[in-house]
Amino acid sequence: MLDKVIFYFFAGLAVISAVLTVTRRNIVHSAIFLITALLATAGIFLQLRAEFLFIAQIILYVGGIMVLFIFVIMLVNLDVAVRQMQFARQKWVALLISLALAAQVGLMFWSAGKLPGQGLPVSEAVPAAQLPPNSEEVARSLFSSYLLPFEIASVLLLVAMIGAVVMAKKRT
């Protein structure tokens, strides 16, 4: 019961603030609602007993990336941006893509009702107190079963970082 209330609270918050993110005219307000959406997603992670993902979401997205977003927003000239066209004229493409997405989601709901027990294996629910410690489990699976993807992702990030440094250095 409590779990459901918490889930719907955070899910509703995430959806509403995501909508507000794209509809607000003021770009700083949009950023604030994006932060709210990210925090609500973190709340859903917490409700699912994934503490590590919860805090990773907060540290990386809310504490890191969004701070840089706001930093950049404040550095660029806002007055010019407001006078420019705010939305690109790609209505028809956007409509097509969102219809396709809606069809996919609808298909998923329909097929989920038709074929019970298909898809991902669902294990028995375990009381929260008996769950294994979350961050240790994440670390174990990252460094054992998913070592290669983990290393590839870190190399990718390193390449991006070096690329950014090279581009920044070019000026002199």
């Binding site: 700083v28 540290i59 504490g63």
Partner: protein, 457 residues
């Protein structure tokens, strides 16, 4: 209706302890912050051969309360073109994040709001980092150039120094092997040594980075009064300004607590496993008695009757607290059966005493630094962060990790690990200084740098 009441009662029965702890923190913290400000002013006065606040109460002891009342009843001004909602939200965010991060900290073995959370120290660091939105949004919403400049500087500073602080924490966590705050302190008990001694370079990095993160002098550029009036809080007044102040001082307590937990042994007393030092357990009571006696001695020197009465009251309070502190030791002497009942209570009080003592020492160091070192220039601050502290902390994580592996091959444990970690720390320091000297040789002349830095102020 019945079900709702029943559910509420069940919830209260299950969660009364964290709720009580949270209530105590929220209620007491503003008072503590106010008295930290008083201590800071007194200390500054002492270092500058002045007396400091002396008017309100004996030796200005009631000054924080008078200040709080003044701030509460001041007129609340919002600039005309300010973004009202964000202007209102920003100080709340600043205080909220700081208070929420206190929930993860353990003040003593029993006093912790979120008990035994698995992500412990990450929760504290992550949530307190969100306080930056209070600063940035407040600076932006004020619609003032000084505020915006202060906010930009602050976010640049925080982003730069958070990396160094995070890597320093990683080094400490290597020894602990867990994120849980209770387990970190217990690991220091088991190994018999503070992690700050095992990884002195990491402790130093965290110390510098935490000063920069809390916007304290010598890194208080976001509010450099000679350049930016008061930085991001230029347009704030009255209660909102007080909220910012509360957030700032709470943040100081948070970083000091994180450093204490990870590097200075948390709530353990010095040498917790050396039994001939057990008399240290009486130190809190002794401390209270000494303070009370000092107050009694000073009574005849007070200029007014009210002030001497106040002094006597403070002395009486100190003696009462000392009695309460001694009770768990004295009571079991008369009645043996009481011993197991009062033991956790006694441990809790002792633990909080040592924890708060270490936190106070850390904050004292902050203040000392503030009155000793002049303010950095913004490009100097950035160079210190990116060219020295971040390389130093990255290299330190690497070499400390290698030192731990070498130590495990040599079967070193506890204090003997110092044999490998100290040389490793020295190597890290030398390499970082070498990198810094290369950077300085290749860097363009000083004037060119300062001019090209657009937000140097």
């Amino acid at each position: 209706m019945q079900a709702v009441i029943q559910a509420t009662l069940d919830f209260l029965k299950a969660c009364w302890q964290p709720l009580l702890c949270g209530l105590v923190i929220v209620a007491v913290l503003p008072l503590i912050a106010g008295y930290i400000v008083l201590v800071e002013r007194k200390l500054m006065a002492d270092m500058q051969a002045r007396l400091g606040p002396m008017r309100v109460g004996p030796h200005g002891l009631l000054q924080p309360i008078a200040d709080a009342v003044k701030l509460l009843i001041k007129e609340d001004i919002i600039p005309q073109d300010a973004d009202k909602l964000v202007f209102w939200l920003a100080p709340v965010l600043s205080v909220g994040a700081a208070l929420l991060s206190l929930a993860g900290l353990a003040i003593g073995p029993a006093f912790q709001v979120a008990k035994g959370i698995n992500i412990g120290i990450l929760f504290v660091v992550g949530v307190s980092a969100m306080g930056i939105y209070g600063i940035v949004l407040g600076g932006w919403a004020s619609n003032s150039h000084y505020s915006l400049m202060g906010a930009l500087r602050s976010s640049a500073q925080l982003v730069s120094y958070e990396t160094a602080a995070g890597l320093a924490l990683v080094t400490g966590l290597l020894f602990a092997g867990t994120l849980n705050i209770t387990s970190i302190v217990e690991a220091q008990y088991d190994q018999g040594i503070w992690f700050g001694l095992l990884a002195p370079v990491a402790f130093f990095t965290y110390l510098v980075a935490s000063i920069a993160e809390t916007n304290r002098a010598p890194f208080d550029l976001p509010e450099a009064e000679s350049e930016l009036v008061a930085g991001y809080m230029t347009e704030y007044s009255g209660f909102r300004w007080a909220l910012y102040f509360l957030g700032e001082y709470t943040n100081m307590i948070v970083v000091a607590s994180v450093a204490t937990t990870l590097f200075l042994g948390g709530w353990l007393r010095p040498f917790p496993r050396t039994h001939w030092l057990d008399f240290l357990d009486f130190l809190p009571a002794l401390f209270m008695i000494v303070v009370g006696a000092y107050c009694v001695v000073r009574v005849p020197k007070q200029p007014a009757k009210v002030q001497s009465l106040f002094m006597l009251a403070v002395a009486g309070l100190c003696f009462a607290v000392a009695l309460v502190l001694l009770a768990p030791v004295v009571l079991p002497m008369f009645q043996r059966s009481l011993a197991p009942v009062v033991k956790p209570f006694y441990d809790g009080i002792l633990g909080s005493f040592w924890f708060l003592l270490k936190v106070s020492a850390y904050i004292y160091f902050f203040m000392w630094l503030r009155f000793t070192i002049p303010r950095y220039r913004f490009d100097q601050l950035m160079r210190l962060g990116w060219h020295f502290l971040i390389p130093l902390s990255i290299i330190n994580v690497l070499v400390i990790g290698i030192a731990m592996i070498v130590g495990s091959y040599l079967h070193l444990a506890g204090g003997w690990l110092l044999l490998t970690t100290i040389p490793a720390s020295v190597i890290a320091l030398i390499v970082a200084l070498f990198i810094l000297s290369i950077e300085q040789k290749s860097a363009p002349p000083e004037q060119g740098r300062a001019a090209s830095d657009s937000y140097a102020g």
